[in-house]
């Protein structure tokens, strides 16, 4: 039996790949020209969901690799206590919650952005975390305890850069002023907490409901046997 040769090009079209590469490359433009870049990202369609997904995946991978490969001088982690899925959730959940909560609030506050665009903006804002994070992780293994401040410096730098980009993204996507952006971002964080709270309440309610029917069934069972 001869295996059919599966060509890569038959899975993804060449045009799609071209578009993906272009939109991904655009991330480098965005991080140095945030206002201009984020405006064009959605309004001129220079970004893509595919590239955004790729960036989020790269960020997720970075977070997972950091658990294992960051020097223990920086992050002293007991690997036997780490649960992969919890770690994955702790990266993905805040991003998704942010997008949903932000979209929810900005819809009420004359925001122009759609959920798709909010997600794209957030993902592109992660770029500095990714491009600084990977080399920094490797760098941490070549540092002594006194030189840890180099690592912390780059870590903090990437964080500040990310927050600034995120604000710029929200400003451009929703066509907001700076004050309105900051205000809506604070509201978004409150909204994230509310969503988590409602989820917890919902889950406990469901489990109580199920427990009720289970006990009802058992009660009936005892009656008849």
């Amino acid at each position: 039996m001869r295996l059919k040769k599966i060509k890569f090009s038959s899975l993804v079209s060449k045009e799609w790949l071209n578009h993906f590469g272009k939109t991904l490359k655009y991330a480098f433009y965005v991080i140095f020209h945030p206002f201009d870049g984020f405006w064009d990202l959605t309004h001129e369609k220079r970004g893509s969901i595919g590239a955004a997904n790729f960036l989020v995946a790269a960020f997720l991978l970075l977070n997972m690799l950091q658990l294992q490969f960051t020097s223990f001088l920086v992050r002293n982690i007991n690997l036997s206590r780490i649960n992969m899925w919890v770690e994955v959730a702790s990266v993905i959940a805040p991003i998704l919650l942010w997008c949903v909560a932000n979209w929810g609030f900005t819809t009420l506050m004359d925001g122009k952005g759609r959920l798709k665009e909010v997600y794209m903006g957030t993902a592109y804002a992660l770029t500095p975390m990714i491009i600084i994070g990977y080399p920094n992780m490797i760098l941490s293994n070549f540092l002594t305890i006194e030189e840890i401040s180099f690592y912390s410096f780059f870590d903090t730098l990437s964080m500040i850069w990310f927050v600034a980009l995120l604000l710029a993204a929200m400003m451009m996507i929703h066509d907001y002023s700076l004050t309105k952006t900051v205000f809506s971002s604070i509201l978004t964080i409150v909204g994230m907490a509310v969503i988590v709270f409602i989820l917890v309440v919902f889950f406990s309610l469901i489990s109580d409901g199920i427990a009720y029917f289970v006990s009802l069934y058992k009660e009936i069972q005892f009656r008849f046997y």
Partner: protein, 508 residues
């Protein structure tokens, strides 16, 4: 195919059986009869790790067991204090208003004397002891007795004749008419200069210091007032009655005092809030000005248990009631919450912990005092009124040897002992770091790094790594320069080629 599989499984089975046979230990250097251990340590993550016993209970001394034909001693009643000098053990049999002197002849503990009253007191003062709480014995066998019931401290010679006495000092709060406190000495020690330090009941100003002639001089080592911002805010909303009940703003009182071979005082305290146990500093080492100089370089401060469950209704943090010090600056604290003994080295690392509550040998109901005679530990139980004798095991000796060699700066020898410790207990964190230190000194940096990394010793790892990195760079500097040169030449070449290509294109 199936046959191969079968053969494979057979081979595996044979291999398992063989290794089972071969792994029977050929040498049994550290053979120990008993197979029950109840010692443990906490690892770097604060998790419980079982450990071989460093001390093993061998004997219980009671009033009946020390009685001889000439000297019948009934059972002790609520004994509160003891002291060891040489081979003599002095027990404060508080409930019987007496002090029992017990001698150890290398085999047996036998009573030699009972002190119930002293001579040479001025007219009108009671000669009998009343509830003696604690005793200190000098090298000349002079005794200093905390005569709790008679509110005095007595300094008597070895025949029980008074040398000096210390009565209620004329300072607050003893002379305060509104808030009168009695002078009820509970614990005491004498320092090398002959000064006596007394801990009196319900006194939170520190230890009372008496000079060489028995005059009160000052309070020493009061623990600093604990201040809590939230409590402070609460006070604004409290009624007068509630405020009166609240006594959070007074310093905590010590419950015991001991002296180490260098003349520093160790104190313990147990009146702290359950949640503050990590920061309460329940064992302290005081210098002459009364400040705490205990070294706390361990992963966790010396606080006893780090975690506990609610087993047998015993909850809450460890509460230390006595401390005994060793020549190598290790010390053992005794905890009344769960009846355990915690040993710490001079850096504050937990060496081992053992004990528990119960009636079996090696367990306590209410341990009140711990002392050592030679290498054995004597623990006095105030409820079951017996003294438990613990003998050191080979494992405990190895740890002591390793610590001693380390303090003598013989790191290689220390590492040999640590390696032996590791053979008995592969979970002993200090041993890994000890071996790592020796490797570091022998300039085996990458091996040292492995040992330090395994036990997350950041500082030592960093030291080893710095040397390793330097070594690697020095060894490979030639290669590095070559690589750099190749890279530069490569870039230059590529540029050149591009330029030529461009020129060619332009020509076309």
């Amino acid at each position: 195919m199936r046959k191969i599989k079968k053969l494979g499984s057979l081979l595996v089975a044979a291999a398992v059986a063989l290794t089972g046979v071969l792994s029977i230990p050929s040498e049994n250097v550290f053979a120990d009869d008993a197979n029950t251990t109840y010692s443990y340590t906490y690892d770097i993550w604060g998790d419980f790790q079982s450990s071989p016993d460093a001390y093993r209970a061998t004997l219980q001394i009671s009033g009946a067991s020390v009685s001889t034909e000439e000297l019948q001693i009934g059972n002790f009643i609520e004994p509160q204090g003891q002291f060891v000098r040489g081979n003599k053990l002095f027990v404060c049999d508080t409930g019987n208003n007496r002090i029992v002197e017990i001698a150890f002849d290398g085999r047996e503990y036998k009573a030699v004397r009972v002190i119930t009253e002293i001579t040479g007191l001025p007219e009108g003062e009671p000669a009998e002891l009343s509830k003696p709480y604690d005793i200190y014995v000098t090298e000349e066998y002079e005794m200093i007795i905390a005569d709790y019931g008679n509110e005095r401290v007595l300094h008597v010679d070895k025949d029980g004749k008074l040398i000096k006495r210390m009565l209620t000092p004329d300072v607050t709060p003893f002379n305060d008419p509104q808030n009168e406190r009695k002078f009820q000495p509970q614990k005491l020690i004498m320092d090398t200069a002959g000064r006596i330090y007394v801990q009196s009941e319900k006194i939170n100003k520190g230890l009372l210091e008496f000079d060489i002639v028995g005059e009160f001089t000052q309070y020493v080592g009061a623990s600093p007032v604990t201040f809590n911002m939230i409590d402070y805010i609460w006070r604004f909303f409290m009624s007068e009655e509630q405020l009166a009940k609240l006594d959070k703003f007074v310093p905590t009182e010590y419950n015991n005092v001991a002296i180490d071979s260098e003349g520093f005082m160790y104190v313990t305290l147990s009146t702290f809030d359950d949640n503050d146990f990590m920061s309460a500093k329940s064992v302290r080492r005081l210098n002459s000005t009364g400040s705490d100089i205990l070294v706390r370089n361990g992963n966790d401060p010396p606080v006893g248990d780090l975690k506990w469950n609610n087993a047998a209704d015993l909850n809450g943090p460890s509460r230390f009631y006595d401390v005994v010090t060793f020549e190598n600056n290790s010390y053992c604290c005794i905890d009344q919450t769960r009846g355990r003994i915690f040993a710490y080295d001079f850096q504050g690392n937990l060496l081992y912990a053992f004990g528990g509550t119960g009636n079996r040998l090696g367990y306590f109901r209410k341990p009140v005092a711990i002392d050592r005679m030679g290498e054995s530990l004597l623990v006095l139980d105030g409820l079951s009124s017996v003294i438990t004798v613990f003998e050191i095991t080979d494992f405990g000796k190895l740890i002591n040897d390793a610590l001693r060699e380390y303090q003598n700066a013989d790191y290689d020898k220390s590492a040999e002992y640590w390696n032996d410790v590791l053979r008995l207990n592969g979970n002993y964190d200090l041993a890994y770091i000890g071996v790592g230190r020796a490797l570091l000194r022998q300039e085996k940096y990458s091996e040292a790094m492995e040992y330090f990394k395994a036990k997350r010793d950041r500082r030592n790892y960093s030291k080893a790594f710095e040397q390793y990195r330097k070594q690697q760079v020095e060894d490979h500097i030639g290669d590095l320069i070559k690589a750099l040169l190749v890279l530069l030449v490569g870039i230059w070449l590529i540029k050149k080629i591009r330029k030529i290509q461009k020129e060619v294109r332009e020509c076309d």
